[in-house]
Assembly symmetry: C2
Homo-oligomer: 190 residues x 2
DNA sequence: CGGGGAGGTTAGCAGCCGTTTACCTAGTCG
DNA sequence: CGACTAGGTAAACGGCTGCTAACCTCCCCG
């Protein structure tokens, strides 16, 4: 079933690609229209404004990340397994939607104030899932350290768009291994 | 000696801060002027254009990164020490100039064509320094893998601006440990 | 059959923003 | 002392861009 994507979704994915490549302000309304075969102001039949596109894009990413991450953690049997599942989840997301990940990293500042608040709240909750999971497997990390470590792992995994030299599976394996290793630096070489 | 910074440098650091926070297109010429106490078009006494500011900013970062990295590697006695030195160098840079690092990560696309070529060439050479160093300490990585790993480590270290919750020294220690651990995942738990 | 909504189109406006211009000071130096 | 320069100002211009307006055309459904 070819799951025909709604016009809105077509527009959002095209816009994400463009925003990722040129930045929010670097993309014109006409560019987005052209990318989906319609031209210019026709977009206003589907979105209230250009800001609204970015807003919807980022809130939907943030919700998907949070929900998926939470689900993986809840389904895990042990703390260790939870961490692996979380890493795998984020790696898959970053590899499957590099444009979305890039936009989420770079274009938070271009959001409208209420949108930014919403997105930040979602992101904070996602980070919190990570912080708890990390602290369960690496008890010697205090909370601020775990938070900083979580951000560092995000940076590591989200580097994906800048290095597509490996194929998907190798990349997933590499990133997962590196992420996991970076979080267990204290495995004493006995 | 209070090393009074030249006007040009004042402008560049102020502009870097603004570009990092709002993105290149999100900052007006008047904003930059205001940030250094002069207003608007006075900047054109010091720079040919707004693009020229970004160009000079990014080439100078890239040169500093490359030169410093190369120097550290050359000064190192062993491969292992070279890797540690390289990590330390990049961590120090990212912690001391978070704005510059952010601009370099996000605003490559806003460069003028010749500037982008120059910067990319410098960045490639810097990555190459990392790739060689990594391969000397982790021989089981082939070249593409080492390159991808280098990018991942950059992402890890450059995550600094998004998490200033720790003080400088703790942050440096954490990032260095994580970076090093991520690159030696094969320390078999004997 | 006939009318209304969904989804296009082009033309045009309004505002922003990078850049140029013309002008005005202080210093500096022959 | 007079002239040139470095560095600043405010005003104006021109192009780009987000958005609106007016209009057109299917398609569906009573």
């Amino acid at each position: 079933m070819a799951e025909k994507p709604s016009r809105r979704d077509q527009i959002l994915t095209a816009a994400a690609e463009l925003f990722a490549r040129h930045g929010f302000h670097g993309v014109g309304i006409d560019d987005i229209g052209a990318a989906v075969g319609i031209s210019g102001p026709a977009l206003y039949r589907h979105f209230r404004s250009k800001d609204a596109m970015l807003g919807e894009m980022l809130t939907s990413i943030s919700e998907r990340l949070l929900d998926g991450g939470q689900a993986r953690v809840d389904a895990a049997a042990s703390a260790d397994e939870a961490l692996r599942a979380l890493i795998g989840w984020h790696v898959d997301f970053a590899l499957d939607d590099p444009a979305l990940i890039t936009v989420q990293m770079r274009n938070l500042a271009n959001l409208t104030d209420p949108d930014r608040r919403r997105v930040r709240a979602l992101q904070r909750r996602y980070v919190e899932v990570w912080v708890e999971t990390i602290r369960r497997t690496v008890p010697e990390f205090d909370e601020p350290t775990a938070r900083a470590a979580a951000h560092a792992v995000f940076g590591l995994i989200n580097s994906t768009p800048h290095s597509a030299h490996l194929d998907r599976d190798q990349m997933a394996a590499l990133l997962s291994r590196m992420a996991l290793a970076s979080l267990t630096p204290v495995v004493v070489t006995s």
